[in-house]
Amino acid sequence: MSDKAEWIVFLVFAVPLVASALGVVVARSPIHSAMSLVAAFFFLAGIYVVLLAHLIAWLQVLVYAGAIMVTFLFVIMLLNFDDEVLGVRRLKVMQVLGIAGALGVAGTVVKATLDLGELPMREVGNDFGTIRAVGRVLFSQYILPFEATSLLLLVAIVGAVVVAKQRI
């Protein structure tokens, strides 16, 4: 893909991504936040495809936009709570300071990244980011963390049941 085409595709996904991420933060109702987050995950999957991370892009749609967000929506529907504030939302001093800190973090990273100069992308083979290539890395170099992940998921399942169940 040529430089300009990649730049355009990047912008096509990046601008709505930032917009929907802002939507998560500013939306008043949690449902609107959740739907914005689903949109953000889809746009992020598009960015991943531009980065040739095909497997991770698929997992992003299946696991994040599918499984995790369905769990979120399920809990929102289940709990049926009121919106946090119905009137004008007032920001406390700590919250304003926190937002300023977040902007500071972003500014620092952006400045540091721009100071690095252009980091050119290396030429990669045709199979970069495919299931075969990532699977080979996952099952050779990262086999121990991979197995630890299965244990982590088991602990999470048991923990979720124990915490949410009224009586064991």
Binding site: A67, T113, A133, A164
Partner: protein, 100 residues
């Protein structure tokens, strides 16, 4: 090829939006969603540098981050349900038993 800087800058913006949400929103569920946003920003950085260096290790790490995010969402939402059941609120400022 576009330089990796743009992807890292996008990830920084995404991370800052998530961080701002975590510190400014008071609904525990929205705070969780903002944490997911921050995890995704970290993933984007991993994938950008995996592409830049041509090393697939970043993809493996992104996979693990996703697994951790799924586990975190499962346990976190269970805690949200338990807190809502006992205290009837999700406002993070009102869940302050340890503070008083």
């Amino acid at each position: 090829m576009a330089p990796a800087n743009w992807y890292v800058i996008l990830a920084a913006i995404l991370f800052a939006i998530g961080l701002a949400g975590v510190v400014s929103r008071r609904n525990a569920l929205v705070v969780f969603m903002c944490i997911e946003l921050m995890l995704n920003a970290a993933n984007l950085t991993f994938l950008a540098f995996a592409r830049q260096t041509g090393n697939l290790g970043g993809h493996a790490i992104a996979f693990f981050v996703m697994a951790v995010a799924a586990a975190e969402a499962a346990v976190g939402l269970a805690i949200v349900i338990a807190v809502f059941r006992t205290r009837g609120t999700l406002h993070v400022d009102e869940v302050n038993l340890l503070k008083s």
